[in-house]
């Protein structure tokens, strides 16, 4: 299997200028890889830096040190040193991220929120909406809600819109931050099926999941984030 993601010796800390320049170490020496069709689960207690690692791979957090190589086609991009335009292009077609919470945009309907990543890379609006609708249906979001903006949805409903948005494209690298945290058992099972289907299609997945049953059902490998603890 080909390697899609290679994280090498990555370190991250926050310097908090409003707290007199206090440095908050997050992680140090993070190294792991994910291959096509493989799901790597990041494990560790809250505050161990799991979400920060996902955000560094997606480029919304910066790295202090190290490299994050993403392989796509014959190319290789080091996210740790990529400029904004390179990152935007990578997010368009290569790496998708399901954040813990949906950032709802006023007035935009749930189905359009989910379809947006496809439209952004050139899929026709109707086809994109159709595929988004398929996913929302599989995630048991009643179709009377598709036309509504998700701002007023419950946590679980918003999360399903967010999952549909992350899975609607065909990105070869998928980052999932607690995708099942506010879902019931039936919808957790749907997410497990969707993730496993993506693995069979060769998607590399890095996930954070606290549910033991979900983790057991999707993980090929567990990476213990506490081994990357940064000394305070």
């Amino acid at each position: 299997m080909t390697t899609v993601l290679e994280v090498s010796d990555v370190s991250k800390s926050f310097t908090m200028h409003l707290r007199g320049g206090m440095t908050l170490p997050v992680v140090r020496g993070v190294s792991f890889a994910a291959r096509a069709g493989e799901c790597v689960v990041l494990a560790g207690p809250s505050g161990a830096g799991k979400s920060s690692i996902l955000k560094m791979i997606f480029g919304s957090y910066r790295c202090d040190l190290g490299a994050i190589h993403v392989h796509h086609g014959d190319e290789r991009t080091d996210v740790a040193n990529a400029g904004p335009r390179t990152m935007l292009a990578l997010r368009l077609r290569v790496v998708a991220y399901v954040s813990q919470f949906l950032r709802a945009v006023p007035r935009v309907a749930a189905v359009d929120v989910a379809a947006e990543p496809l439209i952004a890379c050139g899929t026709e609006r109707e086809i994109a909406a159709h595929r988004a609708g398929d996913l929302l249906a599989r995630l048991n979001l009643p179709d009377r809600m598709w036309g509504l903006p998700p701002a007023t949805f419950s946590g679980g409903e918003q999360q399903r819109v967010n999952i549909a948005r992350g899975l609607v494209g065909d990105h070869p690298l998928l980052l999932l931050d607690e995708p099942t945290a506010s879902l019931d058992a039936a919808n957790r099972a749907v997410v497990i099926d969707l993730v496993n289907a993506r693995k069979r299609r060769g998607t590399a997945i890095v996930a954070i999941v606290h549910d033991a049953d979900v983790r057991d059902a999707i993980a090929d490998r567990i990476v213990d984030v506490t081994t990357f603890a940064a000394a305070a």
């Binding site: 926050f14 310097t15 908090m16 200028h17 409003l18 955000k55 480029g59 919304s60 957090y61 910066r62 904004p84 335009r85 390179t86 990152m87 935007l88 292009a89 368009l92 950032r103 945009v105 006023p106 007035r107 935009v108 439209i119 952004a120």
Partner: protein, 260 residues
């Protein structure tokens, strides 16, 4: 977004003094087609000066602005004749003012406001101009039946939407926006933002938007440039700058926003 394409707009070392008062110092940037750049900072940070320099409305004390014209040739704005610069501003560029009254002719009908830009690019057929104006009113969610009313009859939100229609009717490739949602009620703001977001996406516009509202920057922009005291202190991907701000001032800006 191909990596090898040429930028649409390039600024190099832009500096502007107002007498001994600094407007902005040594600002360089590249903007590509379809890209939205938000310039954020507080009042007096130099962001409006920068916008005026980029749009050729103000001459720099030092530095230059280059623009890739529709014929593919990149030209120095300072080297354009006044007529050429005006033509550019009326056709390939848009400029959305915070105060719609400055960007519109308040005593002229809505249709006239939109039609004027088309006439500047040579449209002469009255029926076709009116048709285009009606379709643009519809696109910015103004009832086309109100085409003959002057914008002085319109609400603040409608005026702003009319100003956007007036700017976009000539299919510009680059639009400058100066606090386009400033001074509007929040519900009106949300509608305008949603409209802007869709138009920018559908038309593939390049945009430089000046705003002090980080939520607006988050919603609309790909990249952010943070200004303070006339200088750029931090730039990067929008979510990177907002979620992991590096500079003390950016951290202060981000942490000063009340979560809703």
């Amino acid at each position: 977004m191909a990596e090898n394409e040429q930028p649409l707009l390039v600024a190099d070392g832009l500096t502007r003094w107002y007498g001994r008062q600094l407007g902005c110092r040594d600002v360089s940037l590249e903007l590509f087609e379809g890209e939205v750049l938000a310039v954020v900072g507080e009042s007096g940070s130099g962001k409006s000066t920068l916008l005026h320099l980029l749009a050729g409305q103000l001459a720099p004390s030092a530095g230059l602005v280059r623009y890739r014209m529709r014929d593919g040739v990149t030209r120095d704005l300072a080297a354009l004749s006044e007529a050429e610069r005006r033509f550019l501003a009326r056709t390939d560029w848009g400029y959305v003012q915070q105060d719609a009254a400055l960007g519109l002719r308040m005593a002229v009908s809505a249709g006239g406001n939109i039609g004027e830009r088309l006439m500047a690019v040579g449209w002469r057929h009255y029926g076709r101009i009116r048709g285009a104006a009606e379709s643009w009113l519809d696109r910015v969610e103004i009832d086309p039946a109100r085409i003959d009313e002057a914008p002085s009859n319109y609400s603040g939100g409608m005026r702003q939407r009319l100003q956007i229609a007036r700017n976009l009717v000539t299919q510009p490739r680059l639009v400058f926006m100066d606090e386009p949602t400033g001074g509007l009620d929040v519900s009106v703001q949300a509608r305008l933002l949603d409209l802007l977001r869709r138009l920018v996406q559908d038309l593939g516009l390049a945009v430089v938007i000046v705003t002090h509202d980080l939520a607006v920057a988050r919603l609309l922009s790909h990249r952010i440039m943070v200004m303070k005291g006339g200088e750029v202190i931090e730039t990067g991907l929008t979510d990177q700058v907002l979620d992991d701000p590096r500079e003390a001032y950016t951290q202060l800006l981000v942490s000063s926003v009340l979560p809703v």
